[in-house]
Amino acid sequence: MSHETYYVPAQSRWPILASIALFLLAYGAGTLINGLKTQTGGTGLVLLLSGAFMMSLILIGWFRHVINESMDGKYSPQADLSFRWGMSWFIFSEVMFFIAFFGALFYVRTLAVPWLGGEGEKGVSNMLWQGFEAQWPLLTTPDMEKFPGATAVIDPWHLPLINTAILISSSFTITLAHHALKAGRRKAIVLWHGLTILLGIIFLSFQIMEYVEAYQELGLTLHSGIYGATFFMLTGFHGLHVTLGTLMLIIIWLRVLKGHFTPENHFGFEAVAWYWHFVDVVWVGLFLFVYVF
């Protein structure tokens, strides 16, 4: 049954509950982090975990609500378009978040570190640490006592290259799943979609292996100067996004198994596929500018 008028939902408890959960998460995280050095973050941890628990329940409930509304046919094509705009602009905001970190990377590489090394128009800043030489990746920091540097960086042509291949293939597999969904070939969807999830999980485990190598063998840590800082923040936030993307893929896969989607109507699937392509594109940027060049 299709509604000609735009569906305006009735009153809902989810938003106010989600605000409380978000507050618990944020306040708990603040208290926990502030208490890290003095081991007094216990209350913070409790608040954080209860916030996280509450938020998970809310997300499940809220999404179930939305899914039910969608299955009841309450969303007109116009409402569908609202969701599409919403998801597109959300992904754009995520792109801008990564741009802040990429911007920091480009700035330190091309300006700040060379200046500290005495090059360029602001090379006078070399007087701070005389004898410091600019290099990228920055292994020897200006103050090796405070920020001990790293012995080497990750070799781009081993794990990162494999991971690039994995993530790019996963963009293809999710597209194949989408084509299968539009053609109504159930077995193919389940297969290609499941393969995408598997590739996501393999990617994540390789990332973990890489981090272990960085910390244990290369001395490349958050603490090892600006290369480590940009490396871990960029790849770390990307990894978090892949984790979130994989979770969303799993949920959508379960919905596929339940037969929630039709060849005409499957925006939930498409939104997650867009998100997956986005994390893929960010990875290509990371591979080029963090690992290779």
């Binding site: 735009y6 905001s93 330190v108 405070k146 600006i226 923040m233």
Partner: protein, 526 residues
């Protein structure tokens, strides 16, 4: 007819009773009201902090508060006014007016709309709670430059960071909702170039919000990592750079100042034609000028950091790019004046605020041009001249436009005309108060008085006393506004659906007060 469907439909027609109406609401008018009241509460809170600053600066020397607390007051005043008062007020006006202006039944994503609002009280509760924490509230200025906000920050900075994250989430969701509403919910026939200018300016503002709030989230995350997890983004000892903080912050911060002024342009562009009884002069040039300002806002951020030590090419590029902004801004001011030219003008309170906006915002714009001249900025930087400049664009700029909008649309919201004389008294008190407060700051700034310092040299005493007196006049005259709003909500002469003399726009075709649900079936726009 399907009777079940009919019952379901009437079920959520009127507002629910009691507190749950406001907690659980999905109605754009309710949410608009919540935003506006929240903003007003924050305006008074931030205003009290401003009055504490002005009381301390009434005379040279230290009288009332300690320098440490003074720093917390300047910081919290700025943060609360920017994120708690001005931005939510504009979002409140958008919530109320956009669906009615484009002929939509509600915002595109009503539940998310409610979430965007309810995050804010929690975020600001957390922000304000830092005042009672050990080490005090954030004291590093609203621009929170590293290393003041990292190495030398009080412990409460961690809560500040998470509060900023919450505000960012709220703003991004609000902006996404607004864009989706404007792009997808317009009534048939409402083409983009027929949109009221308030809708246009909000469309562009929402784009700016989505583009830069994540950058703010990024920079506070870097702070968090530097403070607690040993990274060196803003520490040169590890190869980072404190100036990097300023670059990222101002890449957010400059579009942010346009976020606080573009919707004001929109409001004024609605009001002036109504009271000049003419169509807006140069509609399409207004749209293009707004878009140009938004574009330029991304390539001028370094003009906030001319004195930090930059290559000459940087200074030159950002100086000229900044001056370019005067061109589209000049187009807008010209259009407002041209709209009034030979109009049949009357001077009701919204029009008074709008005209004051045009004049006083232009003064703020011109002092901005002075600051844009890089070599001259070395003299003006971090003086009261800067304080005078941005308060002229924000108080008689953004805040006056918000007040103009409230007076203009209040009869539509409440169904009553506000008491006109009382509105005029509020206007004149505010107008005199604002100018007494901020105009002298130009002089003491040019003479060299630094900002953010609780004490000053004797030669600045007279002008500071004048500014403090003006601040108290402005502050207390806002109580007139509060009383007027409450009076208008509770009663007054009933407003017609047009409210004013033949205003343009769909919002004037529906009764006053606007019914709880409007345009459930979209109107036809010719």
């Amino acid at each position: 007819m399907n009777t079940m469907a009919k019952v379901e439909h009437t079920e959520h027609h009127g507002p629910a009773a009691g507190l749950t109406r406001w907690l659980y609401t999905t109605n754009h008018k309710d949410i608009g009201t919540l935003y506006l009241w929240f903003s007003f509460a924050m305006f008074l809170t931030g205003g009290c902090m401003a009055l504490m600053i002005r009381a301390e600066l009434f005379q040279p020397g230290l009288q009332l508060i300690q320098p440490e607390f003074f720093n917390q007051m300047t910081t919290m005043h700025g943060l609360i006014m920017v994120f708690g008062a001005v931005m939510p007020a504009f979002v409140g006006l958008a919530n109320w007016m956009l669906p009615m202006m484009v002929g939509a039944p509600d915002m595109a994503l009503p539940r998310m709309n409610n979430w965007s609002f309810w995050i804010l009280p929690f975020a600001f509760a957390m922000m304000l709670s830092t005042l009672f924490m050990e080490g005090g509230a954030p004291n590093f200025g609203w621009t929170f430059y590293a290393p003041l906000s990292t190495t030398y920050a009080p412990p409460s900075v961690t809560y500040f960071i998470f509060a900023v994250h919450m505000m960012g989430i709220s703003s991004i969701m609000g902006a996404i909702n607004i864009i989706a509403t404007i792009l997808n919910m317009r009534a048939p026939g409402m083409t983009m170039m027929k949109l009221p200018l308030f809708v246009w300016t909000w469309l562009i503002t929402a784009f700016l919000l989505i583009a830069v709030m994540p950058v703010l989230a990024g920079v506070v995350t870097m702070m968090l990592m530097d403070i607690h997890f040993g990274t060196s983004f803003f520490n040169a000892a590890g190869g980072g750079d404190p100036v990097l903080f300023q670059h990222i912050f101002w890449f957010f911060g400059h579009p942010e100042v346009y976020i606080m002024i573009l919707p004001a342009f929109g409001i004024v562009s609605e009001i002036i034609p109504t009271f000049a009884r003419k169509r807006l002069f140069g509609y399409s040039s207004m749209v293009y000028a707004t878009s140009s300002i938004a574009f330029l806002s991304f390539i001028v951020w370094v003009h906030h950091m001319f004195t930090v030590g930059l290559p000459l090419m940087g200074e030159l590029f950002f100086m000229y790019a900044t001056m370019l902004i005067a061109v589209p801004t000049g187009v807008k001011v010209f259009n407002w004046v041209a709209t009034m030219f030979r109009g049949s003008m009357t001077f009701e309170t919204p029009m008074l605020f709008a005209i004051a906006f045009v004049v006083l915002f232009t003064i703020g714009g011109f002092s901005g041009l002075m600051l844009a001249i890089a070599p001259a900025d070395f003299q003006y930087h971090d003086t009261y001249f800067v304080v005078a400049h941005f308060h002229y664009v924000l108080v008689p700029g953004a805040v006056f436009a918000i007040m103009a909008g409230v007076y203009y649309w209040l009869p539509k919201w409440t169904g009553h005309y506000y008491p006109e004389t009382m509105g005029k008294v509020h206007f004149w008190c505010s107008f005199i108060g604002v100018n007494l407060t901020f105009f002298p700051m130009h002089f003491i700034g040019l003479a060299g008085m630094p900002r953010r310092i609780p004490d000053y040299a004797l030669q600045f005493a007279d002008f500071n006393m004048v500014a403090s007196i003006g601040a108290f006049i402005f502050g207390f005259s806002q109580l007139i506004f509060l009383v007027l709003i409450i009076k208008t909500i509770r009663g007054g002469s009933p407003a017609t659906s047009e409210v004013w003399d033949e205003p343009h726009g769909l919002e004037w075709t529906i009764p006053s007060p606007a019914p709880y649900h409007t345009f459930s079936t979209p109107p036809e726009v010719k």
